[in-house]
């Protein structure tokens, strides 16, 4: 069934922020790049000892007649997916006509590399904060005249299907015994 054309493009999809006009106009020597941690619009498939990113359209060649709309309707595939994004349906974000595309609320198709705009339509305040550097973090230079900067894509921190930021174990605590007294007591 799968006449597989493997999606072997470069791993990190890089979007120039100025193209997205998602950061305020700046006249600086260097610029900001949004780097996503995975190749958006592909499904990771284990092929022997390799993992390959396979484009959605490779399998989704025809429109499913009774497409699953919610995670619990998936019986054959994508079943390991965790879903916890309100009560959104798959097609609130994925384009049912073309699985290689996303879809905005007004029906317009949207390329996966512009996923930021998908998130932005429902999360305006976070997007605004992100544009101003107050959400989502960054690496590199505070002074863009001295060097460039990279930004995380939303999906690096939020799985679009289960977007709550994950819990984790902290780095080890300090081992000095010189904490102010009050705090040492509070620990016991």
């Amino acid at each position: 069934m799968m006449a597989v054309t493997l999606g072997c493009q470069d791993f990190s999809s890089k979007v120039d922020v100025t193209e997205l006009s998602s950061e305020p106009e700046q006249k600086t020597v260097h610029n900001t790049q949004i780097v996503s941690s995975r190749n958006l619009g592909t499904l990771e498939v284990q092929l022997g000892d390799r993992t390959e990113g396979v484009r959605c359209g490779v399998c989704h060649t025809t429109t499913n007649e009774s497409p699953a709309n919610r995670p619990d309707e998936l019986t054959e595939f994508h079943t390991e997916m965790e879903f916890g994004h309100g009560d959104l349906t798959c097609n609130a974000c994925h384009n049912p006509e073309d699985r290689d595309q996303l879809r905005l609320a007004d029906g317009r198709s949207l390329a996966f590399e512009n996923t930021l705009l998908l998130c932005a339509q429902c999360h305006g305040p976070q997007m605004r904060d992100y544009r101003r550097g107050a959400h989502g973090g960054m690496k590199g230079h505070w002074d863009l005249n001295k060097g460039p900067r990279t930004r995380n894509h939303c999906v690096n921190c939020h799985d679009p299907h289960d977007p709550a930021f994950p819990k984790m174990f902290p780095a080890p605590p300090p081992r000095d015994r010189l904490m102010p007294k009050k705090k040492e007591e509070a620990d016991h």
Binding site: P24, Q26, P125, D129, R132, G133, A134, H135, G136, G137, M138, K139, G140, H141, W142, D143, N145, K146, G147, N152, C157, F165, K167, M168, F169, P170, A171, P172, P173, P174, R175, D176, L178, M179, P180, K182, K183, A186, D187
Partner: protein, 308 residues
């Protein structure tokens, strides 16, 4: 470790001597004038002894001090490092803001500081302490800094505290020898070679942001960050105070502090307070920011906020 330790504690510590002298006479000026003489001990080299105050050193003086410190680091730690004297930038005053809604208490900032700034491995020292706080409470004195469980825990929030780079720094005022001062970019620095270890500054700091080197910091040669600056992350001598310097060896070259880059939640915002287009200025103008212990009048350059 034990070898160097005994060596350093065997003689009369120059720092202890000076502290005693200063206390008896009670005059800062006296301490300052006599610092070099009373500081003498057998392990002090002649160059060490004759070193001038940071602000009085010429470029040539400084260069020879830096080369000497590089050689000493090689001898004491077996590491090849390069130490620079990185000066403040014109038109820059640094500010830092932290989003307490985003912080999850993972301590990655503290850990990055530990490595970036060549902190003692045994104590896991860091300039950042992360307090686990009860929701509703705002006083970090009641927080717990040694929690060790999955984060964020229910009902808690997390407050990282480091030097607040106050515009009115109580620590600077109490130093009897002017070994700590505020630079024009707002960073409060310590000259580890001038510090006498009296710890007055530590007591004066309302944020418990200063750390004292009770022992010679131990870091394996291969783990030492070799990119160092005189007022920043070079190896500190035993018996001296140290504190967060906003990673001046990075930030004065336009880069982000190590703690910001390490934050997986994007809770930290850093930049130039004098640039109206900067991210930090946007946060100050658009978020309801507050400072810690505003009532003590320290005027911090470090701000906190919650979303909404």
């Amino acid at each position: 470790m034990s070898d160097s330790e005994t060596k350093e504690t065997a003689g009369i510590s120059r720092r202890t001597m000076l502290k005693a002298g200063g206390a008896t006479l009670g005059a800062a000026a006296f301490a300052r004038a006599f610092a070099p003489l009373t500081e003498w001990k057998p392990t002090t080299s002649v160059d060490d002894f004759l070193q001038k105050h940071y602000k009085e050193m010429s470029k040539t003086d400084m260069d020879s001090v830096l080369r000497r410190l590089e050689v000493e680091t090689k001898e004491n730690y077996g590491a090849d490092v390069s130490i620079e004297d990185v000066k403040p930038l014109d038109g820059v005053k640094f500010g830092y803001a932290l989003n307490l809604s985003a912080c999850i208490g993972c301590r990655k900032c503290a850990d990055a500081c530990h490595k970036e700034n060549n902190h003692d491995r045994a104590t896991n020292n860091s300039y950042i302490r992360v307090f686990e706080m009860e929701q509703g409470s705002i006083n970090f004195e009641h927080g717990n800094a040694t929690y060790d469980h999955e984060v964020p825990a229910d009902g808690k929030y997390y407050m990282p505290v480091q030097c607040q780079q106050c515009d009115n720094p109580p620590c600077v005022k109490v130093c009897p020898v002017e070994a700590t001062w505020k630079e024009k970019d707002g960073i409060v620095v310590v000259d580890y070679d001038w510090c006498i270890g009296c710890r007055y500054c530590e007591a004066a700091c309302p944020y418990h942001a200063r750390r004292f080197n009770w022992k010679k910091p131990e870091v394996p040669a291969e783990e030492i960050n070799p990119v160092q600056a005189y007022l920043a992350n070079r190896m500190r001598p035993q018996g001296t105070m140290e504190k967060c310097h906003f990673c001046l060896h990075r930030t004065r070259k336009g880069r982000m502090p190590a703690c910001l880059e390490a934050c997986p939640t994007g809770a930290r915002v850093f930049g130039n307070l004098l640039d109206p287009e900067s991210e930090i200025r946007w946060v100050l103008a658009n978020k309801r920011v507050f400072v810690l212990k505003e009532d003590v009048g320290t005027v911090p350059s470090f701000f906190y906020f919650f979303d909404q």
